[in-house]
């Protein structure tokens, strides 16, 4: 919107910036940065249970603020669809597919004990065997499924 930052920060700015967040979380508060865990805390709250790690929910609250900040300072929020997924599926199919993709991520992240941030960033940086295995698995599966869908849809996806 304000175009203070470019449409896409160079990877050598965004990557180390995200990496610094992981290090600061470990070094300042002894905590493993991970987004799914924050959503899980909010889910506990919504189910009437006490939050076991409220700081995770606060971290995710910050994440929302930072995302809005980047959108305002950068390209802004023009309402748009779901990329090539919108081209392939009409709105009646798109919503359930998006929902199921989310269900798979939430279910899988809780089962695996982390997602792209908790395992992929924080766990890999701590050289945790579990996180290295998880990251190798979900990236291989995601590349495989993406290539498969690309072929199956005749290149639309």
């Amino acid at each position: 919107m304000l175009h203070v930052i470019p449409h896409q920060l160079p990877w050598w700015v965004a990557g180390p910036g995200v990496g610094a967040c992981v290090v600061l979380m470990y070094g300042l508060v002894n905590a493993k940065l991970g987004v799914s865990g924050g959503w899980l805390q909010l889910l506990r709250r919504a189910s009437g249970e006490p939050m076991t790690e409220p700081w995770r929910a606060w971290f995710n609250g910050g994440l929302v603020v930072g995302a809005v900040l980047a959108a305002v300072l950068g390209a802004g929020a023009a309402l748009h669809g779901y990329g090539r997924l919108s081209d392939l599926l009409g709105p009646p199919l798109l919503a359930p597919v998006a929902l199921l993709a989310g269900v798979a991520m939430g279910y899988g992240a809780r089962w695996a004990g982390g997602c792209t941030s908790g395992h992929g960033l924080s766990g890999c940086a701590a050289r945790s065997r579990e996180s290295l295995a998880a990251t190798a698995t979900f990236f291989s599966v995601a590349v495989g499924v993406t290539l498969l869908l690309h072929v199956a849809t005749g290149g639309t996806l």
Partner: protein, 137 residues
Amino acid sequence: MSRAGTAVCLVIGVAFGFFLTGSGLGDYHTIHDGLLLQDPYIYLMLASSVGVATLGVLALERRGRTVLEGPLALPRHPVRRGTILGSTVFGVGFAVGATCPGITVAMIATGNVYGAVVLVGIFAGLWLRGRHETGSR
């Protein structure tokens, strides 16, 4: 965690959300083209972030103490069956949605309203797994 620690988490969360969204990962094509092996951005970003974080963790290990919360305790776990099965299920959602639990916020912030649908799905998935875990106990 102390109040000060929680405030630190909030501030780091802002920075994290800023970099995730500023990187354009909230745009379907950034991750999708990466998973199609047509755009190296996500891999360069992942490698540079894990690289910086690994060096930082090594430095923290030498120091051994955290600023606010005592001796450094790193999360290191062995590989479980669920690690692989869960990550496989996660990978399918990651591929179809071309997003992940943090990036959905970047999607919504930059105007992809379907990001909200994905996020509702993530909550439902977290809940469902919790049900299955209590059920199998």
